[in-house]
């Protein structure tokens, strides 16, 4: 009656709530083990007794799938996310153009709280990051905080996006790479780095940062959080995987800044 879920650490806030709701509803219990996607995937390959794996990037889910450890047909693209450019507090690296617009938008997003996803932020007036964005100018001699650009998904997406927008080369030398997205966020939140690239979901809950711009869709591969059941999962796992895709869960995820992907129906054998 107990299922074990291995989930990417960045999902912690939202997933805890979803799991609590499901436990209350079904009387089953869920244990959530949060760590980096890479560590979790390797552990599953090494025989970890997980029932469900939620990765922060398709690549690690692919690796687990490649080992033949997934329950056939159980993999879904559970969530999506958006990448945003953030600045520290109200005094983002550049005191000019972006300040008012972006600042107001971010504050609005925070104040309005739950229910406002990136799309809403978009609607609230935060501009899309464009090729014309004077990123290097605004950055000055400050640092651009990102997750490891060649290793951690948020960093990889961010690098791809900046490259696509033609902004990468100008700032590449100033990128400070953190070991995960949360650490990058902390660099901006403390003001050590004036700007950073993080997930919209991270930016949402951190009052010390403001969203300056959103990476346009298509500037990088879609950000996807795949979820799947392991081949030898407990039977209850299936119920939880479904609950993750239910509208109630979707609301929670959206409240935490994730995009809820068009849920694909589970194929049952």
């Amino acid at each position: 009656a107990d299922i074990l879920v291995f989930a990417a650490a960045s999902m912690r806030g939202a997933l805890d709530q979803v799991a609590a709701a499901w436990e209350a509803e079904t009387g089953h219990s869920v244990t959530l083990s949060y760590a980096g996607s890479s560590a979790l995937a390797r552990q599953i390959i090494a025989g970890a007794p997980a029932d469900i794996f939620i990765s922060a990037a398709p690549a690690w889910m692919d690796v687990v799938a490649g080992e033949g450890l997934l329950a056939a047909g159980s993999r879904v693209d559970l969530l999506g996310n958006r990448l945003v450019l953030i600045g520290h507090g109200a005094a983002a690296g550049a005191e000019d153009v972006a300040e008012d617009a972006a600042g107001d938008a971010a504050e609005g997003a925070v104040e309005d709280g739950a229910g406002i996803g990136p799309a809403d932020a978009d609607a609230a007036g935060v501009a899309d990051l464009s090729t014309g964005y004077e990123l290097a100018v605004r950055l000055g001699d400050g640092r651009l905080a990102m997750a490891l650009v060649d290793a951690v998904p948020a960093g990889q997406y961010g690098k791809a996006g900046l490259q696509a927008l033609g902004l990468w080369d100008a700032v590449a030398a100033q990128v400070a790479q953190a070991d995960n997205v949360r650490a990058a966020l902390a660099l901006v939140a403390t003001g050590e780095a004036p700007m950073g690239v993080v997930y919209a979901s991270d930016a949402l809950a951190e009052p010390a940062v403001q969203v300056l711009a959103i990476f346009p869709e298509g500037s990088h591969a879609p950000i996807t959080y795949p979820a799947a059941m392991l081949a030898d999962a407990a039977p209850e796992a299936e119920g939880f995987l479904q609950a993750l895709q239910a509208p109630a869960a979707g609301a929670i995820f959206e409240a935490h800044g994730f995009e809820v992907r068009g849920f694909e129906p589970l194929e049952r054998q």
Binding site: L40, R42, A46, R182, L185
Partner: protein, 234 residues
């Protein structure tokens, strides 16, 4: 205090204590042996042993955890053997956390004990030998009591390290509440949630309190022992 921490946090605290204590106690005898070998014996492969002992210090903890996972996981060569012949499963159990913590603490422990052994006057050991004590008895009756302060120092270093160990543990046994979620892993999990710093700090304070308690206890014990030994020279 019950209100200060949630039940799950209490679990992490007590698990960490349990892991650190076992890691310290289990590795102590081996640590003393290895320290003695490095301090007093001459044998081929001594440098190698010395190097291996220091490895966990040199390697990034994640790498140590990764190597443990490969070696001691259920599918790893040693892990599979242990499970088959001893019925001992380490991976994703608190026992695995003990192994990880013990390995990470080992070099600190060995160094402290080794320094203490090297400080024992070999003339006293020689005197014991002339009184009929063989090597083992000399060790048990002369060397061991004289290095007690060093052993205490090693133990408390090891315990503190085991309480703080994170990278190797989470990589090896993951972060399963109630089973492998130690205090540092819980802190890590909090730090993944925006605004979780405050909660993380609450746990950090608990960790500090425990380790400081152990530290004070060890210092007190060391003083008692030192007073018993009295002046250096007989």
């Amino acid at each position: 205090m019950t209100e200060y921490l949630s039940p799950q946090e209490w679990q992490a605290v007590s698990l960490s204590l349990q892991v650190a204590l076992w890691a310290t106690l289990l590795s102590l005898p081996l640590g003393i042996l290895v320290a003695h070998a490095l301090a007093r014996w001459q044998f081929p492969g001594k440098s190698l042993l010395n190097g291996v002992v220091h490895l966990p210090l040199i390697l990034p903890p994640v790498v140590t955890g990764y190597l443990l996972l490969i070696g001691f996981g259920r599918r790893g060569p040693i892990g599979a053997l242990l499970e088959e012949y001893c019925g001992l499963v380490l991976a994703f159990r608190w026992t695995g956390a003990v192994l990880a913590a013990a390995i990470m603490a080992f070099p600190l422990m060995v160094r402290a004990i080794r320094l203490a052994i090297e400080a024992v006057d070999p003339k006293l050991e020689a005197a014991a030998a002339t009184l009929g004590a063989n090597r083992l008895r000399v060790f048990a009756t002369i060397t061991l009591p004289l290095i007690l302060p060093g052993i205490l120092a090693g133990a408390v270093l090891g315990f503190a390290k085991a309480m703080g160990e994170f990278g190797a543990t989470i990589t090896f046994v993951s972060n399963i509440p109630g089973q492998t979620q130690t205090l540092p892993s819980a802190v890590y999990a909090f730090l993944q949630v925006p605004g979780g710093e405050g909660q993380a700090m609450r746990l950090v304070i608990v960790a500090i309190a425990i380790s400081m308690g152990a530290l004070l206890l060890s210092e007190w014990l060391a003083r008692v022992v030192a007073r018993r030994i009295g002046a250096k020279e007989g």
